[in-house]
Structure formats: C-alpha cells, structure tokens
C-alpha cells in the first residue's frame, strides 16, 4: 500500500530526505504536466516544475494540511506559472480578442482537418486564453478538480473560478467553431 502523502511529509520533517525524494517522484509528472499546459512550452515547464519543488522543499514545514498536498502543490505551480505568464509572455499569448491564425480547412486542399491539425489548432487557441482562464480550464478538464478547489488554488471566489472556466470554453468554442461545422 502506498504511503500517504502526510506520512511522507512527517518523515521529511523528521529529517528523512528520502521521503522528499519519494514525494518528488510521486508528483513530478503531474506538476510538469500542469506547468506545460499552462505555459505550452517544454523548457518553461521544466524550469517552473523544478522551481515549484524547490518552493515545496522550502515551505513544507509551513504546510498546514487544511487542504490536500495536491491542492497545495497545484497552488504553488499555478501561481508560478501565472507569474511567469504575466511577467514576460504577453507577446506569446495574445488577447482573447485577437484572431487566432488557424488554418481554415475550407481553404485547404484536404478539405477537412485531420486530428493532428485539430490538436494544433486547439493548442494555438488555448494560447490565446488569458492565464487565469487557462488555469481554470486546465485544472477543471485535466485535473478534474471541483470549482471550489480551483478557486482555492487560484485565490479567487468559486463564482469567479466558474466564470473563468465558462469564458475559456466559450472562447475555444468560438475559435474552433469552424472545424465542427465544416467537419
């Protein structure tokens, strides 16, 4: 049976470094995946997930356990990613009102988008989402978190978290409407 997260934390706080190693191994993929989905960049995701674990290491003794370890870690990763996106990536992530330069299948010789093309179009559309919307959608769709927990992670109200999620989905629907209508 897998050792519970809190037991690992207790071991770490008693000075057992191997417990932290186990915690990293256990969580590294989900942390990386969340960072990647937020930044859409492998290099940034690597740096931010390392930074996230560094912050976990520094602050684990202050983790109050009122939330799950996952929620607490998601919060660290998400905040790092939001800071990262807000700091220097504006040009990479245009406004939601900007048009996404996605190929219109009706203009191409193939006539229809293949699955790969759809995924690429989706990726580019996601890049136009404001960071908070992207975070809400990622945490909801890929991590299946309830809106209340997403709100806790983002430090916003549950109602705002829902609005971010709904706006994100509606924006993607508008951006990608053509592939369904034409496909």
């Amino acid at each position: 049976m897998r050792e519970a997260d809190f037991e690992l934390i207790d071991r770490f706080l008693r000075g057992d470094g191997a417990a932290f190693d186990e915690l990293v191994r256990r969580r590294q993929r989900e942390v990386y995946n969340l960072a990647y989905r937020m930044t859409r960049n492998a290099e940034d995701a690597r740096d931010l997930s390392q930074e996230a674990f560094l912050q976990v290491y520094r602050n684990l003794n202050r983790f109050d356990r009122r939330s799950s370890l996952s929620t607490w870690m998601y919060r660290i990763v998400t905040n790092l990613c939001l800071n990262h996106l807000n700091r220097g990536s504006r040009s990479r992530f245009p406004s939601i009102n900007d048009e996404v330069d996605v190929a219109d299948p009706s203009e191409g010789s193939l006539g229809r988008l293949e699955e790969k093309e759809r995924q690429e179009a989706l990726a580019r559309a996601i890049e136009t989402l404001p960071p908070q919307q992207r975070a809400s959608m990622t945490l909801r769709v890929h991590h299946q978190l309830p809106h209340g927990e997403i709100a806790e992670i983002l430090g916003i109200s549950e109602a705002t978290a829902k609005v971010h999620y709904f706006h994100a989905v509606q924006a993607l629907r508008r951006k990608l409407a053509y592939w369904r209508e034409d496909g």
Binding site: Q50, L54, N79, Q119, L122
Partner: protein, 235 residues
Amino acid sequence: MRCEEAGSTLLELMEDELPPGRRAEVVGHLEVCSACANELSAYRDLLALVRADPVPDPSPRFWEEFLPSLKHRIEREASEAPRESSFWLNGLRSWFAFPRPLIAGVAVAAISILIVIRLPGSFTIRADRQKAPAPMEQSAGREGETRDWDRVPHTEAGKRDMGEAVIVAGELVEDTSALAAAIQRLPWVDEIADRVETAWVWRPESDPRDWLASLSEEEQQLLFDRLRGFRWSSS
C-alpha cells in the same frame, strides 16, 4: 424557453450546476430544438478534444535528471545561504514574524504605490511638497476626522519620489506605513492575502508587479475601488 436563453445555460448544464427546475426546462428545450442540441454536442466534442490535448512526454533522461538536478539546486542554495543570502533569509524570517493581516496590509500598501504608476490618474504621488494641496500636519490631531484631498498633478518627478507621500484616490497619505495599517482593516485584504503570501513571502525579492499582474482585472478594479472609498482616522 428561447434558444438564446437555453444556449447560455449549456455549460452550466454540463457542469450540473443548474437547479432542478431550471435543468428540466433546458432539457425539455433540447428535446425539441435540434440547433441547441447540436450546440450542446459541439461543447461536448470540444471538451473531449481538450481532454485529449497531449503533453509531449519529455525524454527518459529528463526524468532521470529531474530529481538529481533538484537536489543539486537545494544543496547549492543551502550552501550559499549563510554567505550570500543571509539578508534574504533574515528578511524571510522577520517577515514571517509579522501577523498575517499586517503582511497583507504592507503588501497592499506597496501595491497601492505601484498602482500609481500602473494606473495614471487613479493614484498619484505627491511630486512637490510645496505644491501639495495641504500638508498632513495641518489637519492632523483631530481624532476620526476624514480627509479629502485634491489630486496632485502627476509628474515624472513624482514617480521618482515614492517614499514621502502618496495621494490615494484623492487622499494624501504622508506615511505609507499608516496607509498599510489602515488597509489591513479592509476585509477584502484577506481574500488576496494568500496570493500576497505566494508572491511576497515565498519570494520577497520578487517584483510586486508580478502578483499585481496576476490579479484579474476585476480584482484590480476592486482593489482600486476599495482604496478610492477608503477613509482613515488621523490617529
């Protein structure tokens, strides 16, 4: 039920967020309206596509090196801490020694200064003490008095003179620590305190613009509105 009305509730329906009566109305409409049923289907397809959006798997070597690289950073930070980062660490310790509302208050006060720069016209910094509408001392000493000050014209010189006095939404604050102490009484500060912790406590050396920018437009507006309506006593 009209299509427009039904269309605006489709995501709530999918999220099971509608009250039972409302849900029955929408479901009833979907049974007779193919356009709205198609729209619901489009949302489902879209979310399926989002769910299938892959994360490129890093190389096996990436994962082999992940933990060793992290441990190297931890060890390096630990070895450098006493020599190079004592100020940082001492600052961090002393930061945590303060009660949380004060942390939030100080941070928000700093942000209020920052907004002077970010939102020209909303806040400004007193550029020239001689030209200021009135010095704080003239009206100080009357317990509980509310002051309203005219806005000081925003100047480039003012931007550089951040340490002395600020005018927050038309109100002159000579001492930003007094502003911080007052702002901490705003209930809303608690709502952003966690974010303050994230950006300031964990990374006290970081640029406060980072976390200001992480606030949504609504939150920034709320912060501004709260400060606009803010009154403080002269105690």
